[in-house]
C-alpha cells in the first residue's frame, strides 16, 4: 500500500532564504533610535548637574587658594584647610553619586548596542545556511524585539492605581525576561504615575516634577506650570478654601500676568462666580429644581442670558480639565525624555495589519459602544476543535466525512488579520496593495465553483481514501464505496474515479475537474 503524501501548505523548503533579512541592521538602529535617545537625554541632564557642581567647586577652590595665600597665622590656615576638606569631601560624594548614575545609563546604552550587534551574525547565518534552526534563531531576535515593544506599551498604559509598581505586568515581564537594561522603565513608570495622579485630581507629584524641571519648562515656554497652578487654584475655590486660593494666586499665578493675562482675569472672577456662590443663587431662585442632576449648573441656565454669562466660567470647574492637564504633562514629559509620541507597538501593529490585509480578510467593523470580547472568550473559542472547515453536519454519516476531512486537512496557517483578537483593530485600517496573484500551480475547478490545486486535491483524495480504509467503516451503499475502487482505464489517468471536495465533502467524477486560467 502506498502511503499518500499530503504536506502542509506552508513552504518548509529551505533552498533559498526568505526575505526576513530585508529589514537590515541600519534600519533597526533607526527604528530603535529612541532607545538610545532616552538614556542619552538623561546622560545630558546628568552632565549638566555635574557641570554645575564642578563649576561651583572651581569657584570655591579659587576662594580657598586666595584665603590660604593670605592666611597670616597657622591657626587660620588650619581652619581654612579644615573647611576645604569638608568641601572636598562633599564634592567627592556628590560627584561619585552622579558618576554612578552615568554608569547605569551607559550600561543601558551598551546593552542595547550589544543586543543590536547580535542581529547581523544571525542574519548571515540564516542567509549562508538556511534551515529551520537558523531561521528560528533569527526570529528569536525579532521575538525579543516584540517583547520589548510589549513591555514598553504595558509600562505606559498601566495606570491602575490599585496595582503596586512591583505587581504591574510590564515590570514583571521585564524582570522575568531579563530585559531591565533594554527598557527605560524608571522613566516610563514615573510618567504613568504622575499622569495617574493628575487624573485622580492629585497635583502634588506634578508640582514636584515641575519644580525639578523648571529650567526646561521655561526654556520651551511650556504652559504646564501655569495650567497646573491654575488648576490648583480652581480646586481650592471649588472646596471653598478662598484663603489658600488667594495664596496660590499671589505666589504663582500672578507671575504669569504677561503671558496668560486673559486667563488670570477670568481666574479672578472665579472668586465670585463659582459653584458655591451659584448654588446659593440657585436655591434662592429655583429651589424646587432636582439637585441630584449632575452637573449642578444646568438648572441655572433656564434663562438663556445667564447661561451665556456663566458658562464661560463654569467650564473651569469641569473634571475634564484634569484629563487635558494630564495630556499637557505627558507631551512635555515625553518631549523632555525623547520618548516617541506614538507608541511603537501601535505603529507596528497598524503597519503590520495593513501589510497583511487582503480583500478576502473578514474583519467586520466594531462600534465604540459595542462590548469588546474578553480574553477568556477569545481563548475558549480558539481552543474549540475547528469545525468550520467542512460545512457538513446534517447526518451522522456526513458528520464522519467531515471529521475525516478535518483530520486530513493540514492546518492552513491562520491569518493574523482575521484572527479573533485582531479583526476588531483591522476593520478601519487600509488594505495591502497587491499587484500579483498568489494562487497555485495547476488550478482546477469543480462543478460547484471551487478552485483547487490539482495535485493537492488528488493527494487529499488519496489521504481521505486511506483514512476510510483504516477506519473500517461499513461503506456498503455509501458513495465512498464506489470511489474506493481504483480504475486504471484510460479515462482515469490518476487511477482515481473521482475527487472529494475538501470544503463541501462532496464527491466529483474526475472528468468534472476542469483546468481554469486565472491569468
Amino acid at each position: 500500500m502506498t502511503v499518500p503524501v499530503l504536506t502542509a501548505q506552508s513552504d518548509t523548503n529551505f533552498t533559498k532564504a526568505d526575505s526576513i533579512h530585508d529589514p537590515n541592521v541600519d534600519l533597526q538602529i533607526k527604528l530603535q533610535s529612541y532607545s538610545y535617545r532616552i538614556p542619552l537625554e538623561m546622560i545630558r541632564q546628568n552632565f549638566k548637574t555635574i557641570q554645575k557642581l564642578e563649576e561651583r567647586q572651581l569657584k570655591k577652590l579659587e576662594e580657598f587658594k586666595k584665603s590660604l595665600k593670605s592666611s597670616k597665622t597657622p591657626e587660620q590656615t588650619s581652619s581654612i584647610k579644615k573647611s576645604l576638606i569638608t568641601s572636598l569631601k562633599l564634592f567627592e560624594k556628590k560627584l561619585t553619586r552622579q558618576v554612578k548614575i552615568e554608569e547605569e545609563l551607559l550600561s543601558r546604552i551598551n546593552a542595547r548596542a550589544e543586543h543590536l550587534a547580535k542581529l547581523k551574525p544571525l542574519q548571515e547565518a540564516y542567509q549562508t545556511s538556511p534551515s529551520e534552526i537558523t531561521k528560528d534563531e533569527l526570529l528569536n531576535w525579532y521575538r525579543d524585539q516584540t517583547n520589548l515593544l510589549i513591555i514598553t506599551h504595558l509600562l505606559k498604559e498601566s495606570n491602575d492605581p490599585n496595582v503596586s509598581d512591583e505587581d504591574k505586568l510590564g515590570l514583571k515581564l521585564m524582570k522575568s525576561l531579563h530585559m531591565e537594561k533594554l527598557v527605560d522603565y524608571d522613566v516610563l513608570t514615573q510618567a504613568s504615575r504622575i499622569s495617574q495622579d493628575i487624573k485622580r485630581g492629585k497635583l502634588t507629584s506634578l508640582i514636584t516634577w515641575i519644580t525639578e524641571n523648571k529650567t526646561y519648562l521655561t526654556k520651551i515656554r511650556s504652559e504646564l506650570e501655569f495650567q497646573t497652578r491654575f488648576q490648583e487654584y480652581i480646586e481650592l475655590i471649588k472646596n471653598d478654601k478662598t484663603k489658600e486660593a488667594l495664596a496660590v494666586f499671589q505666589n504663582h499665578l500672578s507671575s504669569f500676568a504677561k503671558t496668560n493675562f486673559d486667563e488670570i482675569t477670568q481666574a479672578s472672577s472665579l472668586l465670585v462666580i463659582n459653584p458655591g456662590s451659584l448654588e446659593s443663587l440657585k436655591t434662592k431662585n429655583h429651589s424646587k429644581y432636582d439637585t441630584h442632576r449632575e452637573p449642578y449648573y444646568p438648572s441655572l441656565f433656564r434663562n438663556q442670558e445667564s447661561h451665556n454669562t456663566f458658562s464661560q466660567y463654569l467650564h473651569f470647574f469641569s473634571p475634564d480639565r484634569y484629563e487635558s492637564l494630564s495630556e499637557i504633562f505627558q507631551t512635555v514629559y515625553y518631549e523632555l525624555h525623547g520618548i516617541p509620541k506614538s507608541d511603537p507597538l501601535m505603529v507596528y501593529l497598524s503597519i503590520g495589519i495593513s501589510a497583511l490585509k487582503t480583500k478576502s480578510c473578514q474583519c467586520p467593523e466594531i462600534k465604540k459602544s459595542s462590548p469588546i470580547a474578553s480574553f477568556e472568550d477569545i481563548l475558549r473559542e480558539k481552543l474549540q476543535p475547528k469545525s468550520d472547515t467542512c460545512q457538513h453536519s446534517a447526518s451522522v454519516e456526513e458528520n464522519s466525512t467531515a471529521t475525516i476531512i478535518n483530520s486530513i486537512r493540514p492546518q492552513i496557517p491562520s491569518c493574523p488579520v482575521c484572527s479573533l483578537e485582531f479583526r476588531g483593530l483591522a476593520s478601519t485600517l487600509p488594505y495591502a496593495h497587491n499587484t500579483k496573484s498568489s494562487l497555485f500551480e495547476n488550478p482546477i475547478m469543480l462543478p460547484n465553483g471551487n478552485i483547487f490545486d490539482r495535485e493537492r486535491l488528488i493527494g487529499f483524495t488519496r489521504a481521505y481514501l486511506t483514512a476510510i480504509k483504516t477506519q473500517k467503516i461499513d461503506l456498503s451503499g455509501h458513495e465512498d464505496e464506489y470511489y474506493l475502487q481504483t480504475d486504471v482505464s484510460k479515462s482515469y489517468p490518476t487511477g482515481l474515479r473521482g475527487v472529494i471536495d475538501p470544503i463541501e465533502g462532496v464527491w466529483y467524477d474526475c472528468s468534472d475537474m476542469v483546468t481554469v486560467f486565472p491569468s
Binding site: 513552504d11 564642578e54 480574553f375
Partner: protein, 429 residues
C-alpha cells in the same frame, strides 16, 4: 552599523576618574598636613605650597574632563540624531485609544505562549493551557539534552489524540510535515540513541562504563527501532546507516585508541548534537501548540514581524515625496497601501489572492468584505468565463455592458454570454 557601535564605544570613555583621584589626593594631603607635626616642623609652608599646587591640578583636571566629556556626549548626540526617525510620521492610521483592550487581549495571547501570563488571567477552566510545561521540556531538551520527559509526554498525548481520532498517525504521512507524529517519534528515538552512543564513545574514563553504554545503546536500538520500521519502512535505510556508523565506531575504538575514524563514523559525529537538540525542541514546541489547538507563532508577533519587514517600503516612499507633502499613506484611488509589499512565504500564504487581469483589482469573496470606515468595499468575486478564463465581476459587468450583450473574452476569441459565466472561489488546501 559598525560606525554606530564605534560611537557607542567612544561614549563609554566618559570619565571623571582624574577629577576624583586628584580630589582624593588633595583630601589626603590636607588631612596629613593637619596631623600634629612630629618631626617635620618647617614643612608647613612647603605643604601649603604643595596644597596650592594640588588645588591647581584639581582645577585643571576638572576643566579638562568637563570639556572632554562634553565633547563625547555631543558627538554621540549627533550620531543618534543622524539615525533618528520619527515613528509618528508612519502612523497615519492610528488605533483609537478605546481599542486598547483589543491590544491587551492580543498581548495576553502572546504572553500565554511565553508562559508569562499573569496568574489571575486564567481560571481553572483553562488548566490544560499550561505553557510552563512546554518551557520546562524545552529547557530539558536544549540545555540538558534530556529527552526522557519529552518521550513520556509524547506517548501520553499521542494516546489521547489517537483515541479521539486514529487518523493522526496513519492517515497522512509526510516527511516534510513537521507536526507528523510518527516522524516526531522517530526523531525522538534517533536523537536519544545518538546521545547514548556519543556518550559511549567519547567518554575516556574506564573501559567498563564504555562497554555498559555500548550495550545500553544496543538495547535501546533493539527496543525501539524495529517498532518504528514496522510503522514506516522508509526509516530502515536511515536506521541501517546509523547502526553501521555505530558498529564501525565501536570496532575502531576497540582495535586501537587512535582515531581511525571511518567516513561513516565521522558522519554521525560531525552532526552537531547541539543543533539536533535545538531542532527537536523546535519541533516539540510546534507539536505542543498544535496539540492544544493554538498556532505556534502568536498573531501579535507575526504582525510586528511583518511591520519590521515592510518598514523599508514606507521609508523609501516617504523619502521620495517632497517634504511636508500631506499623505495618508494610502493610494489616492483606493484604500490600499501606496506600494506592494513583498513578504516571506510564511507571512503571505494566508489567503489565495487573485488579481483581475483586466482591471488589476484584487477580487473579494462573494460576501462584502469588511466595511472599512468610510471606505466600504463592494463585493467583487472572481468569475469564470465559458472559456475558463477568469476575470473579476466588475470587469465582467463592464465588458458585457451589465450583462446585456454578448462579448468576446479578453484573452481568447470565445464569444461569451453573461449567463454562461460562473462565480468561483479559490481555496488553499
Amino acid at each position: 552599523m559598525d560606525n554606530f557601535i564605534t560611537e557607542v564605544e567612544k561614549l563609554n570613555s566618559l570619565s571623571y576618574s582624574k577629577t576624583l583621584s586628584s580630589t582624593r589626593t588633595l583630601i589626603d594631603q590636607l588631612t596629613l598636613s593637619e596631623e600634629p607635626p612630629d618631626s617635620n616642623d618647617n614643612n608647613t609652608s612647603s605643604s601649603t605650597n604643595n596644597i596650592l599646587k594640588s588645588i591647581d591640578s584639581l582645577s585643571t583636571n576638572i576643566n579638562k574632563e568637563l570639556k572632554a566629556n562634553h565633547g563625547k556626549i555631543s558627538k554621540f548626540n549627533k550620531c543618534v540624531m543622524r539615525n533618528e526617525l520619527d515613528l509618528s510620521q508612519y502612523y497615519r492610521h492610528p488605533i483609537p485609544e478605546w481599542k486598547n483592550k483589543i491590544v491587551l487581549n492580543a498581548i495576553n495571547l502572546h504572553l500565554l505562549r511565553l508562559g508569562q501570563l499573569d496568574d489571575d488571567m486564567l481560571d481553572d477552566h483553562f488548566s490544560k493551557v499550561d505553557f510552563s510545561e512546554m518551557k520546562e521540556l524545552q529547557d530539558q531538551i536544549v540545555n540538558k539534552h534530556e529527552l526522557e520527559k519529552t518521550i513520556e509526554w509524547f506517548y501520553k498525548n499521542q494516546n489521547q489524540s489517537q483515541n479521539q481520532n486514529e487518523l493522526s498517525l496513519t492517515g497522512v504521512n509526510s516527511e516534510v510535515d513537521s507536526t507528523n507524529d510518527l516522524d516526531f517519534e522517530f526523531r525522538l528515538h534517533r536523537l536519544n540513541f545518538l546521545k547514548l552512543i556519543n556518550a559511549g564513545t567519547s567518554s575516556s574514563s574506564g573501559a567498563n562504563t564504555d562497554e555498559d553504554l555500548t550495550i545500553q545503546s544496543m538495547k535501546y536500538s533493539q527496543n525501539w527501532f524495529p517498532k518504528l520500521i514496522e510503522k514506516n519502512p522508509t526509516y530502515l535505510s536511515q536506521i541501517s546507516k546509523l547502526m553501521s556508523g555505530f558498529i564501525l565506531d565501536v570496532a575502531s575504538g576497540q582495535e586501537s585508541n587512535q582515531a581511525t575514524a571511518t567516513s561513516q563514523s565521522v558522519n554521525y559525529k560531525e552532526q552537531s548534537l547541539d543543533s539536533n537538540f535545538k531542532e527537536l525542541s523546535l519541533l516539540f514546541s510546534k507539536k505542543y501548540c498544535s496539540n492544544l489547538g493554538i498556532e505556534y507563532e502568536s498573531n501579535l508577533f507575526q504582525l510586528t514581524l511583518t511591520a519590521f519587514i515592510s518598514f523599508p517600503n514606507y521609508i523609501r516612499f516617504l523619502e521620495k515625496l517632497p517634504p511636508n507633502t500631506p499623505t495618508t499613506l494610502t493610494l489616492a484611488s483606493s484604500f490600499e497601501t501606496p506600494f506592494s509589499i513583498e513578504l516571506p512565504s510564511f507571512l503571505s500564504k494566508f489567503h489565495p489572492i487573485f488579481i483581475c487581469p483586466v482591471s488589476k483589482e484584487e477580487t473579494t469573496s462573494d460576501i462584502a468584505p469588511s466595511e472599512s470606515g468610510f471606505h466600504s468595499v463592494v463585493p467583487n468575486p472572481p468569475i469564470c468565463l465559458p472559456c475558463y478564463h477568469i476575470i473579476s465581476k466588475t470587469s465582467l459587468h463592464k465588458i458585457s455592458k451589465n450583462g446585456l450583450s454578448s462579448f468576446k473574452c479578453p484573452y481568447c476569441p470565445t464569444n461569451c454570454y453573461a449567463k454562461d459565466c460562473k462565480q468561483v472561489k479559490f481555496h488553499f488546501i
